[in-house]
Every structure is written in C-alpha cells, then in structure tokens.
Amino acid sequence: MFPTPVERRSTAIQAGYKALLPFALILWLLPLLMVALFSIKPDADFTQGNLWGLPSTFAGFENYTRVFTDSAMPRYLLNSIFITVPTVIGAVALSCMTGFALGVYRFRGNIWIFFMFVAGNFVPFQILMVPVRDLTVNMGLYDTRMGLVLFHIAFQTGFCTLFMRNFIRALPRELIEAARVEGVSEIRIFWYVVLPLMRPAIAALSVLIFTFIWNDYFWAVVLTQGVESQPVTAGITAFNSQFRAAYHMMSAGSIIAALPPVMMFFLMQKHFIAGLTLGAVK
C-alpha cells in the first residue's frame, strides 16, 4: 500500500494521524456545518448577533417543520421525484438496449454510433438550449414535468450507453455464443441471458442518474417556470426570496433540498462509487 500504512509507523505517528482525521474533516465540511448550525437556530439568534455560538434554544424541529408547512417546498420535492424517477427508468431502459446492441454485435458503423453517443454526452448544454426549448414549446410541453423528463432521458442516454456498452463488452461472450448455438433468438438472449448479468450496472447507473437529474438546475430553469412543474433545485430560489434574510429558514430549506441524493449515496454507496469510478482502474 502507498503511502506506508500508519500501523507500521511509531505509536506517536499513529496517534497523531487519528487525531488529525476528525480535525481535517471538520475543516473540510466547515461551510456545510455552518449552514447546518444555522438551520437549528431560532430567528432571535440572528438579530442578537449570536451567529456561531450554540443556539439559544433548539429550533431545528420548528424550522424544518415550517419548510414543509409554510412554503411550496413539498410540491417542489414531489416534482423532483416525478421528474427524476421516470428519467432513471427511461434512460436505463434505453441504454440497456443500445449498450447491448453496441456491445454484442459487430456491424458497420458500430463504433461511429458509439462515438456519437459519447460525444453528445460531453456537449455543452447551451448549444442545445434554444432548439430544445423551442421543440418543447412546440410540443406543448413547456413548463411541464414531461417536457423535462423527455429531454433528460434523451441526454442521459449518451452517458448510459457509454457505461452499459463497456460493461457488456466485459461480460463473457461464451454465454451468448452458447445460447446462439442452442438456437435462442436474439431478443431472448437479451432478455434472459444478458439482462440478468447487467444487474450491477443497472443498479450503479440508476443511483448515478438519480443524483445527476435530481441536481439538475440548468434545464429546470430553461424548460419550466412555476410551482406546478419546477424541481427543487429551481424552486429553492423562490423559497429563498420568500424567506429573504431569514437565514435559519433558508439553511433548513437548502438542507432539505440537498438531502435525497445524499441519502441515496449513503444507502447505495457501493453501487454509486462503482458507477462513478468505472474506468478509473484498468
């Protein structure tokens, strides 16, 4: 292992390392800890200048409850779920198929279609903005969750195809060949042979795409406008202008908005990191 494991060093270094860890973590998360502290303070602490001390009274429960009762936050969260979940299902379904096609078959143009997906996935959003907005308006889907979902599915298919295709390439080909010799049709090979083997990739991609889409802000402001359809990333702006300068409320709101992907990450850590670091190791 590199660097040298601390167990092999002197006890002083070991103790020093273990003491340094929590200190470094606090330093690293300092801005976030500040906001977390704000979110459990009562309003009075801000007017009395008690900014970074302990809260005079614990107001966390009250603040977080108000986020749900006094604002449109529940609606935004619901919108986020109704945008994110269908996108995950759609993009993963489409890319299972494209990944299978590009990973298993050798045909003319295979690599070029693959490159098209990869290149499209890196494109700056702005080059798509005007036409996609126009298209969405013309389809009557502007300011609807469906409009966002359709675009997200299409765009994420690029990254998902890259991911799935590379995953399928690494599967043992003998399985597919054996099934073909048995006379199994290609569609059934996909469904019964390859798809069950893709479960880890599907899990990893689902968690990743969930996070990407939940955190999307640009398309949310380009394709939606109001409380009826905006996800929480865009809604937080409206929330903040409702609670202008009420830092305890804005802090609680931001933490609520950030929480679902964080929970997803801690619950599905293994899959998340497997997805994110695909290709980081040969």
């Binding site: 390392y17 998360l29 997906f117 700056p124 290609e186 802000y217 931001s254 190791v281």
Partner: protein, 308 residues
Amino acid sequence: MAAPIITESTPPPARGYWRSNQMKLAPWLFLAPGIVFFAVYVIFPIFQSFHISLYRWDGLGEARYIGMQNYERLFDDPAFYTSLWNNVRWLLLYLLAIPGGLFIALFLNQQVRGIRLYKSLFFFPFVISQVVVGLVFAWFYNPSIGLLNPILGLFGAGPVNILGNPNTVTYGIIAAGLWPQVAYCMILYLTGLNAVDPEQVEAARLDGAKGWRMLWYVILPQLRPATFIAVVVTVIGALRSFDMVSVMTSGGPFGSSRVLAYYMFEVSLSEYGFRMGYGAAIAVILFLIMLVYIAFFLWRMWREERGV
C-alpha cells in the same frame, strides 16, 4: 412468468425472414429508440443552433437572416471577452482539483478504524447539488453572517467581501466549485490507489524508493487511468460552470463573474429580451472550445478500441 414465445401463430414467412436475418436486424432494433431520442434532442439541435446563430430572432416572431453579424458583434462585445477570460480562469484553476483530490486520497488511504466513514464524509459534497453548494458558499463568504471573515480575523487578515468585489468574485466561485470537484477526484484516486500493485510497491521499497520518488515513479504511472478520467471530467465541469455563477452572483457584480455558459443564458432568456440568435452564436463558440476536448477523448478511445 409470461415468456414471449414464438408460437405457431406467428406467420411462417415472417418468422423465416426474422430467423435468417436476425443477426443483422437485431442491433438496429435495439438501437432504434435510443438513436431516435438522442438524434431529436441532442444531435439535431446542435446543427439547429449553428443555423439559428445566423439569424436575428427573439424566439417568437419572424427570424431574420443576418449572416455572420452575430459573430461580428460578439468580437466587439466586452462582456463576451470577460466571459471568455473567466472561462480560461475556471479551466486552469479547476484543474487544481486533480492534485487536491490526489492529496486527500493519499491522506485517507489508510486502514485505521472508521476510515470508511471518513472517506464517505469527505466525498459527499460531490453528491450535493451545485445550487446548494453555491448557496452554502455564498453564505460562508457573506460579510455579515459568514464564517470566513472571523476565521481570516484569527490570522489578522480581512475582512473581505469576496463576492462583492469584481477582482475576487470569480476566484470565490471557483473555490466553491472546487469543493465537490476535489471530492470527485479524490474518489477516483482512492479507487486507483486500491488497485496499485502491492508487489511493485514493496519491491520499490526494498530498492530504497520512498516519499516523492515513490509517488512519482511508481504510484502515479499506475494511476494514469484515474488521472485521465479526472482530467476529462474536470475540464468538462469547468466549461459547464453555470449553476454556481447563477446562484451565487447572477454574473455580477457588474457582469464580472460571467462565464460563456451563463452569458449565453442571460442573452437568450433574460429580462432584457430574448436574443436567441446572439445566444446561439455564443453557444457555438463554447461548443467549438469543447469540441477540442471531445475530439481528444474520442481519439484516445479509438486508439484503445483498435488495440483491443
């Protein structure tokens, strides 16, 4: 379970055709939905944007063809140069996420109790939406409520108003952007370090290599795949910087923190009226910059594919 069984009811000619040609047809069948979606929403719009950039268009009325005039105006537009220059700063400074991530990964690559939790906690800023990261840092920098100035005060520095000063605002936003990006690079390197060949490390140790020399000559070469991905995602991330600028400053003060991605949005959809053609021209420039990296990435992939 209802299996899609091809029964006798399937007309024999069709079955025969499918049977004999399925190896040729199947890939296109599987590709069709994905390609249609991708073409309509990604590939085709790229060309449309090029087209729109030659028009004067408010998004509603008649578009008027004006040739290269949008681009000519762009080159006389000081806001465009500010944005472009800020993009350069983003690109260069954002790359600090790579050594930063490596540094933290090396720090955390131990096996003491609870280290897994530390790794997760160091990583999780990456999972938070950039909007929230932007807000958190904006409040952290805020001269009246933020923790930054009291901390600077401990060292006898400050007070500063980072986001209120045109000379420092972009650096402040980049620092906020680096926070999740460093976490991302860290996780790439932790995974890479995990796969470093222990025998090589031990052999190098026996030969007396340690510290920097070990890192440079033995470890980093083995981390190359991780470094490559880190560079790609960091460059793309730097050029995509929109959320933070929008949330933290809306491009201000006096437009000094605009980047191309944000300026394009501002021009096309702001309260000053919709200038879609001009916006499209900015997008085209941004796209052409990105194209250099896309081409590099594809070229590398192509080389690898041929090697397989």
